[in-house]
């Protein structure tokens, strides 16, 4: 399913103009190396998510693009011109801050019009664009309110309107949804994505929430300890994780350690045919790709089959997660549709194509 849509996404991307080009950016704070050699291209109209745990350097990278921090080395180009040499107020980049950073002494409409006023645009134009921006985020009714009097979600919309009203080439969003409760957050994810399609501005969205990254992005750039682990579309990064870290951070996975010899991959007692080079190997196998063999139809001809004993069962609503122990002691997670309580031995299978070869994630420190 994933592989069929992939070429479409790629070709759509290659047809787009590169907007921002991050080249070999490195940054240290004192002796701590926060970013090491980051290179990344962002296309016109693209929604790119920088995903990473806290301390991965994602916010620092965003702040370097915005101009609040200077990189120690490397450069950033916007449409072929150096961006990193300009002060923040000369960059055609706007930011939605994590805690919104609305000006408390200005009303909602004054906040939204701030960028246009400092640019000394004609009053009539400012008024028209502010009205339009407030309508876009459905906040027209609050034009005269002070930011202190409106809710977090509403402040969020104002921060968005305040940035977009300036028609930036690039919008940076620093964990903008992290302060909202779960329901509002899901709603804002959808709204934000459709808004981005509507305005056609490139978004660089920073988050630590992998689900948020999957839902919203055209591409996900996974950052780990200051280096890019993998940059790919959500489907690609999920179905073909390049490294063990990616496989584990995005979604849930089983890592199978083994080796390939004479075209056969072996992990404990499991073995299947592969067309891969020989040597030690690490495979990622998603829990939902392991199926319980249907007793009526029997197992698939190409599938790897094995037996396992249920050790633990966790109910997740539509699905449930089983911990299964095989005869050789190998423990695997299996995700299945929710059924009545299961017990004892199970016949299981998976397709060899779902076992994805991944690289070990190197130690960094």
């Amino acid at each position: 399913m994933a592989t069929t849509t992939e070429p479409v996404v790629r070709s759509a991307r290659s047809g787009l103009q590169e907007l921002l080009s991050i080249r070999n950016i490195a940054k240290s704070f004192g002796k701590t190396r926060v970013l090491r050699d980051i290179s990344l291209e962002i296309a016109e109209g693209e929604f790119l998510t920088i995903l990473g745990e806290s301390g991965s350097g994602k916010t620092t990278l965003l702040r370097i693009i915005a101009g609040f921090e200077n990189a120690n080395s490397g450069e950033i180009l916007m449409e072929g011109e150096r961006l990193d040499l300009l002060p923040p107020y000369r960059r055609r980049v706007n930011t939605v801050f994590q805690h919104y950073a609305l000006f408390p002494h200005l009303t909602v409409e004054e906040n939204v019009g701030y960028g246009l006023r400092v640019a000394k645009l004609p009053k009539a134009e400012i008024a028209a664009r502010v009205t339009e921006a407030l309508a876009m985020v459905k906040m027209t009714a609050f034009a005269k309110s002070k930011p202190g009097k409106i809710s977090g979600g509403q402040q969020q919309r104002i921060a968005l309107a305040r940035a977009l009203v300036n028609r930036p080439r690039l919008l940076l969003l620093d964990e903008p949804l992290s302060a909202l409760d779960a329901n509002l957050r899901r709603q804002m994810q959808v709204e934000l994505k459709s808004l981005q399609r509507e305005v056609g501005i490139s978004f660089v969205f920073v988050t630590h929430d992998q689900e948020e990254a999957m839902v919203m992005s055209d591409r996900v750039a996974l950052l780990r300890m200051g280096e890019l682990e993998q940059v790919a579309s959500p489907r690609e990064i999920y179905s073909h994780p390049a490294t063990a870290y990616t496989a584990q951070f995005i979604g849930h996975t089983n890592l199978l350690r083994g080796e390939i010899r004479a075209g056969i991959a072996r992990c404990n007692s499991l073995s299947w045919k592969v067309g891969l080079p020989e040597g030690p190997a690490l495979f990622s196998l998603r829990p939902e790709n392991i199926r319980i063999v249907n007793p009526e139809t029997g197992s698939d001809v190409n599938a790897v089959t094995f037996r396992g004993k249920i050790q633990h069962q966790a109910f997740h609503g539509a699905t449930e997660l089983l911990q299964v122990v095989c005869a050789d002691g190998l423990t695997l997670s299996v995700r299945t549709a929710t059924r009545e309580t299961r017990q004892g031995d199970l016949a299981l299978e998976f397709s060899p194509t779902d076992a994805v070869l991944v690289r070990e994630s190197p130690e960094r420190g």
């Binding site: 960028g115 400092v118 300036n166």
Partner: protein, 282 residues
Amino acid sequence: MFSRAYRTAITLPPLLWVAVFLLVPYALLLCYSFWSVSPSQTITHSWTLDNYRELFRVNVYLQTLFRSMWIAARVMIFSLLLGYPLAYYLSFYAGARKDLFYQLVIIPLWVSYLVRAYAWKTILGSDGVLNTLLQYLHLTKHPLEFLLYSPFAVVLTLTHIYTPFAVLPIYAALEHIPRNLVEASSDLGASPLQTFWRVIFPLSIPGVLAGATFAFVLSLGDFLAPLLLGGPSGIMISNIVVSLFGAAYNWPLGAAISLCMLLLVVSLLFLSEKLEKKWSFR
């Protein structure tokens, strides 16, 4: 939560303190302001409004009050002009030296007021450091007379003494401005100057008001600086009150002037608090 007896026990001492050392003296002051001095130099305990009439009838009192206000206003303006940039530098640019500079602002407050006032006398006098230097450099032939025993000397000294009182509240207000607001302003295209006038300054207004109030009110009631450095042209209202309670032996008139001053100061504090509330957003 606490027993009634316990609550009474802990509230009583401060209440007594306030009553004995604040309320009673003010009540006495109020009474005195309606009494009078007989020709035989004793205080007559009969009620009269003469003191207040005297206050508005004799020009020198009102003139001195206005001069005091004018001196206090100048001290306030100079303290803000000196104090704001200092506080701004401290808060935004001092970096690792922030604490050191903060202490440097505080330290003069530990030095006796008298020492600092006398220091200015030594600097400004006709044989003082400044005049000697000017003549040595042949910039002036004779000592400059206006330097000492003038309103100028009073304004200079009071500005020196009260500037830290202006710096501290402004610094506190600047420290409370979330730095992401400054970043947001810059991000939205505002130059550093635009960011200052549109974001930083408006958000520091409560501190400016507090600092201005300190400088003005403390200067208005000052009597040592005019006494030591003011000369006849630099007399302030407190000097008159001091002489009325002392050599002139007219306590009732002194009390009436004191109460007018008190009323003025309390209204100023009230006004300043109202304005500060209007300009704070947290």
